[in-house]
Symmetry: C2
Subunit: 187 residues, 2 copies
């Protein structure tokens, strides 16, 4: 039986930071606990077990299990083997940018892409109306809506390009992006 430290309460800074990250992630569309669990792992020198996390964050066993498996699905947490331990242990992905670009790529991009498709679809239908409707008022309205939707579509495409740029920049490292942004700045 290896000697491991007992589940210990979080330091105040750990609690504070994981809370902040939890909030950010929640704001960002994930569950708050995902952020908190990830942060505790990220700040821990050693891998932690589900039980450690349960104590650190006062969660039920089910919650920990579900949160960890969700985090694993996003690839931001890894399961590690610890010699002579029965339990599973976990570590956080420490390559922050890799995490983020994966999320951008999988989550945001599909969101934006499906919006783009819907806009294109609507445009096609409106064009059909513009060509076939007998009523001039109807045609005019279709025309106007087409123009507006075109704008939305352009914006969505811009968004997608931005995501692509971020992700492809980030694939390697955050540096180039940072340099670009610095160059962008007024002073």
């Amino acid at each position: 039986m290896a000697k491991r430290e007992k589940p210990r309460a979080l330091w105040p800074t750990e609690a504070a930071v994981s809370d902040v990250v939890g909030r950010l992630m929640e704001f960002w569309g994930f569950k708050r606990n995902m952020g908190r669990v990830w942060t505790v792992l990220y700040l821990s020198p050693q891998p932690l077990s589900a039980e450690d996390l349960r104590h650190a964050l006062q969660l039920s066993s089910g919650a920990v299990s579900m949160t960890l498996s969700e985090l694993s699905r996003w690839g931001v947490v890894r399961r590690v083997w610890i010699q002579g331990e029965r339990k599973d242990f976990y570590t956080a992905e420490v390559q922050l940018w890799r995490m983020i670009s994966r999320v951008f790529n999988e989550r945001e991009k599909s969101e934006v892409t499906s919006a783009i498709e819907a806009f294109e679809d609507a445009l096609r239908k409106l064009e059909a109306i513009g060509r076939t409707s007998p009523d001039p008022a109807t045609r005019a309205r279709a025309q106007l809506q087409g123009e507006r939707i075109e704008q939305l579509l352009e914006l969505a495409r811009l968004g997608r390009r931005l995501l692509d740029a971020l992700v492809s920049t980030g694939k390697v490292d955050v540096e180039p992006l940072a340099r670009f942004l610095l160059g962008q700045q007024r002073s």
Copy 2:
């Protein structure tokens, strides 16, 4: 009594588009109805009354009122006077980029900024521990956490720079940003 068209059901494309935008906005942290209401206004040739919206989207009077006032607070919808009408009418802000950069600037930025402050705060506390704790293990741990939090801080600052870049680019027009992104691309 001016002649105005009766509240009319949405065209299928209008319904579809407002739904998509509603989803995007929800995903994005707003209420779905905000997106839907905005879209209906955006696609309408004339300003619409609260009642029109109520019919178009099947909302209660209260919901329409609250949604419109929230949208007004974000400056994405404007109230307009229509000659000889008792009711209030509304139009959508059509400068898409202006809307978005306002949201970035007010909402995201404050989120990121407060995270940055919290990280800085945590760092200060950890440094104090690193200087004063008698226990070497504690000092080592504080050291490590400091490094990790430093990373988070750097990332948050990068995010803020990105937001600044977007917003300042967008203040004028979307064009420059678009050009930059195109230039960025691999081919």
